[in-house]
Amino acid sequence: MLPPPSLGPELHDALDRVLHPQFRCKAVCELRCKHCARMMCQRGMKAILLASSKPGELRVELFSTDSPPPGAELFGDDYTTASCRCLIRDAACLGCGNTVAYNVTKPCATCLQACNNGHLWVLHADSVSSTDRLDTSGRKILRWADLPPAETDGDMAGVHEYSLFCR
């Protein structure tokens, strides 16, 4: 597990906001690396990049998640892009090493003030494949409103993984 990004108290407040209603009905996706099929994370959300959603700009589709994706790891140094002042660092798939995601290590004020989903992990839409995660009944698509917090969700991964293997 990676340490949480070091943010000031006011930023924490901003991130701890209750998930905005528009995100609650969104489907939870399971994201796999498009190159080697390794599971990246099971808590993905389809999203639009904040920094690119200004009027007149191209909308960049991507996936985001609220905790470090187990299938990827950070590498290299922080950097900024031309879009905003967020500090970001790339993450590569632990299976094939291709760059599949980045982590906003320090969000900028502009992005925090915009309507955001609080997710600091971003997976590139062209690097991952997405399938909707099903609820325990296996019949309905799991929504973000019903998704347990990341801490408890992770505990079940082992059991879930084994049950995939045993039959």
Binding site: C36, A37, R38, L94, C96, G97, M156, F165, C166, R167
Partner: protein
């Protein structure tokens, strides 16, 4: 940016004591190679990709499945060559998987190599260099450097390499897009050595958590047969001299009686027997005198004396798979994983019960009978008389004495800790009970009987999944071990395990229907020494060693750990039922046979392997499963490897290597074009029919990815036979080899001496042809594709294919080149020696010269 660095023409090294021949002065050329072995690979990053340079394609590379120190690529040069430099290509952008540190080893052409130096330009000289005992699919690879073969034993820091391997390069790549070319060591003691194989051994990637990737490899050097032949000869002489010096020194320091050592060594009739006298005679007869007819007689005597049979018994079997093709009309059980299988030893009937088809659990019971096909004995379903609910990850055991199939346990998704918590969070009640029901199928009358509604209430196991259950006929008992408990009852020291706990060892006495708790994990089991004994687990294998009166427990999973141990649990000798030993107490019945079977040539740590017992031979056969690459932290690799464990000698042997598939990748089965191979899977089932000496495998889960969905399951039925060499076949092949040699010499015009010592008269080509048609053809199994091909190719020898032919013009090779001179007495000697070495393999190891050569053990100073 992607400039291909042209390796500089060889700059001749200053060699102070130049021994002829020195490193060539001519320009180097690219050395074609093939990748013949590798430690692992992930996704579609197959090792063969490294032969291609395509810097813009992220998929054009080898990428390992783990980032430990045991990863390697083995390259075989198409022709032996003096390697001058190696070029590593890269991706067009920096990549975390680039090799920050690596080393390269080379395997020098051995003077003991069966390859005649004259044949460097052609591979058709010998019918086959394969061992007479080896079967077609047995892998033939050079021995690995010992430090790679047993990664944890010596550590790779160890400099000493067994088997003749030499480190020719240690380096690292920059994390950029530029190709990098490295000059390698190519001389030792000022003598250049030709290599046959190159081994690339990654040591570190640019980011430590990532797997290793090699994008492109090219080797440059000299492979002209003339140069290599001269170098090989010089290298051989160098090694020979070094060896003799060591031998001399060794004998001198061992005992003064050994002086003068070499003459004494050759004339030691009274010394301990070095080899079987038949072999000594065979050597004189065949190699020295070319007595082909007496040589055949000697081998027939070896067969009569049971010598060949002994060698055959010691040779590893080879697994051969045959798919049972469904008949168009007949019924066939649906695809499934996590089902159960049992084989009725008396009739050979195969029973399959339950499983999971990717969407729901199954409750049907099927019987497969050779010649008759599948028959559904019970369709499952909820109507009619009571029967086990649909289930997977349960166990089924066949008891021939009571003509019963016993069914215990199942996996209930809703009861699993995480799922149950979710249900509770939502105020939902789990849909299923957690009672452990126990059933019996009457094999004669058909029909289910519920033996118990809740075995936990009767002192037996709670509701468990992925446990193991075996029958112990003498005590009329079933032993149930491991699995994960799904009971909601609170844990107690001698009874219930509690939810999510690993279940212990129980015995069920069939006649009295009574359960006994035999052993149980102590609290905090992972920390106590006792935990190193019979640790409870899931997804393991368990078999009964009836001769040794013990249960053998292999591998499995505990928490997130993949186990690789082999543990024996001794059962009461007189046929009584084992009693209880309190948790935490030393249990003398438990013996850890191996902490890590991979260290002894067995399977890697893993789970869901399936094991079956061949009691007659005292062998356990272990198939497939999910293995974790050593040191890797990936989700495991699905493999179809087959291992044989000898219960008496404790020896592991890998008898089949199916290509592995990474979990969630598109890896397929093995495909060598001639035989069918099952695709890798887990959660399938395996059973052994002693009557037909056949192993059955049915269904399983092929894993996700590669176009497959998470719901895909298999419904294929396979028969696997372990084929062992048969003494009379081995003799026939030996006779084929001898007659092939006689024919070769006829083509060479050497002729066969009428009797030892009498000079041979040259042979007429037509006589040779007639010999081929009658004498050689008689020894060929014309139904064996490989033998038949070899036999057909032999006709070309008459015209000089691969050697100087009887019809060929003096010294002209059949391929038009003038590289092959007329065979010299040396060639004849070498060729006969090569044959002798193959023939010696039909003798057991303790009766013949050692397989290894002293030259390969001699430490050679490498000039740095």
């Amino acid at each position: 940016m992607f400039a291909n660095i042209k390796p500089a023409a060889a700059a001749p090294r200053a060699t102070p004591h130049a021994i002829q021949p020195a490193t060539p002065h001519s320009a180097t050329s690219q050395l074609p190679y093939s990748v013949v072995a590798w430690s692992s690979y992930s996704a579609n990053y197959h090792p063969r990709n490294i032969a291609v340079s395509c810097p813009t394609d992220q998929a054009s590379r080898w990428s390992s499945a783990a980032h430990n120190q045991s990863q390697y690529l083995l390259l075989k040069l198409n022709r032996p060559a003096i390697v001058d430099s190696i070029t590593f290509g890269k991706y067009h952008k920096p990549h975390v998987c680039n090799l920050k540190e690596f080393r390269v080893l080379g395997l020098p052409l051995s003077p003991h190599s069966p390859l005649s130096l004259n044949s460097l330009s052609s591979s058709t000289l010998s019918p086959s260099s394969a061992s007479l005992l080896s079967l077609p699919s047995a892998p033939s690879l050079p021995p690995m450097p010992s430090s790679l073969a047993a990664p944890a034993s010596g550590g790779l820091a160890a400099q000493g390499m067994g088997g003749g391997w030499m480190e020719i390069l240690r380096g690292g790549l920059r994390n950029d897009s530029e190709d990098e070319c490295f000059r390698v060591r190519r001389e030792a003691g000022s003598v250049p050595f030709p290599l046959t194989h190159i081994l690339i051994h990654p040591l570190a990637a640019h980011s430590p958590s990532f797997n290793f990737s090699v994008w492109h490899v090219a080797a440059q050097g000299w492979d002209e047969p003339g140069i290599v032949e001269r170098a090989g000869r010089a290298w051989g002489e160098h090694l020979h001299r070094t060896t003799l010096l060591h031998l001399l020194k060794h004998l001198r320091t061992t005992s003064p009686v050994h002086l003068p050592p070499l003459q004494l060594l050759q004339s030691l009739p009274s010394s301990p027997q070095l080899e079987h006298p038949l072999l000594t005679t065979l050597h004189t007869t065949l190699v020295m005198h070319g007595g082909f007819a007496p040589a055949q007689h000697l081998l027939r005597r070896a067969l009569e004396a049971g010598i060949i049979a002994r060698a055959c018994a010691a040779a590893p079997p080879v697994a051969r798979w045959t798919r049972v093709v469904p008949t168009p009309q007949g019924p066939w059980p649906g695809p499934r994983g996590g089902h159960q299988m049992a084989v009725d030893g008396a009739s050979g009937d195969v029973y399959v019960h339950g499983g999971y088809d990717g969407e729901r659990e199954l409750g049907d019971l099927w019987r497969w009978r050779a010649g008759e096909g599948w028959r559904c004995l019970d369709g499952g379903g909820s109507r009619g008389s009571p029967r086990p609910s649909p289930r997977a990850c349960h166990k089924l055991v066949l008891d021939p004495a009571s003509r019963s199939l016993f069914v215990l346990g199942r996996y209930v998704e809703a009861l699993c800790e995480g799922n149950a918590q979710r249900d509770r969070d939502r105020g939902e009640v789990p849909e299923t009970g957690d009672e452990s029901d126990f059933w019996r199928w009457d094999m004669d009358k058909g029909g289910w009987e519920r033996l118990s509604a809740d075995t936990e209430a009767e002192g037996g196991p709670s509701l468990v999944y992925d446990h193991q259950m075996v029958l112990d006929p003498p005590s009329r008992s079933l032993y149930v071990f491991g699995g994960r408990s799904q009971s909601s009852r609170p844990a107690s020291p001698n009874g219930s395990h509690g939810r999510e706990a690993y279940s212990g060892l129980y015995a069920y006495h069939i006649p009295s229907r009574r359960w006994t708790l035999v052993a149980k994990d102590p609290p905090g089991a992972d920390e106590t020494p006792a935990a190193l004994g019979l640790r409870s687990r899931i997804g393991h294998s368990m078999v009964l060693d009836s001769a040794g009166r013990r249960l053998l427990v292999l591998a499995g999973q505990r928490e997130r750990q993949y186990l690789g141990d082999l543990v024996a649990f001794t059962l009461p000798a007189a046929g009584g039922v084992a009693g209880f030993v309190a948790p935490g107490q030393p249990d003398p019945r438990v013996e850890v046979l191996s902490r890590d079977t991979a260290m002894e040539g067995g399977p890697e740590p893993g789970f869901t392997q399936r094991a079956a017992v061949d009691e007659g031979r005292g062998e356990v056969v272990v198939v497939g499963g999910i293995a974790r690459e050593r040191g890797g932290d990936g989700p495991g690799v699905v493999r179809n490897d087959v291992w044989v464990y000898g219960m008496t000698d404790g020896r592991w042997r890998k008898v089949y290597s199916g290509d592995g598939a990474g979990w969630g990748t598109g890896g397929g089965g093995r495909d060598d074009g001639e035989e069918e191979h099952p695709q890798p899977r887990f959660a399938g089932q395996v059973g052994y029919d002693e009557g037909r000496d056949v192993y059955y495998m049915f269904g399983g889960n092929p894993g996700e990815g590669g176009g497959r969905t998470v719901r895909e399951r298999l419904d294929d039925l396979w028969e696997m036979m372990l084929v062992r060499p048969d003494p009379s076949t081995v003799l026939r092949r030996a006779l084929f080899a001898i007659r092939a040699q006689q024919f070769r010499e006829m083509c060479w015009g050497v002729g066969t001496p009428a009797s030892p010592g009498v000079p041979a008269t040259p042979v007429e080509p037509l006589m040779a042809l007639s010999y081929l048609r009658r004498e050689v053809a008689e020894c060929v199994d014309h139904t064996d594709k490989r033998e038949e091909r070899e036999f057909r190719e032999m006709a070309g020898w008459l015209f000089g294919a691969g050697s100087c032919g009887a019809f060929g013009a003096g010294g002209m090779a059949g391929d038009g080149s003038a590289l092959n001179p007329a065979p010299t007495p040396d060639d004849v000697f070498r060729s006969r020696t090569q044959l002798f070495q193959r023939l010696a393999e039909v003798f057991p190891e303790d009766m013949r010269e050692p397989r290894t050569n002293l030259t390969e053990m001699v430490p050679v100073e490498i000039q740095r």
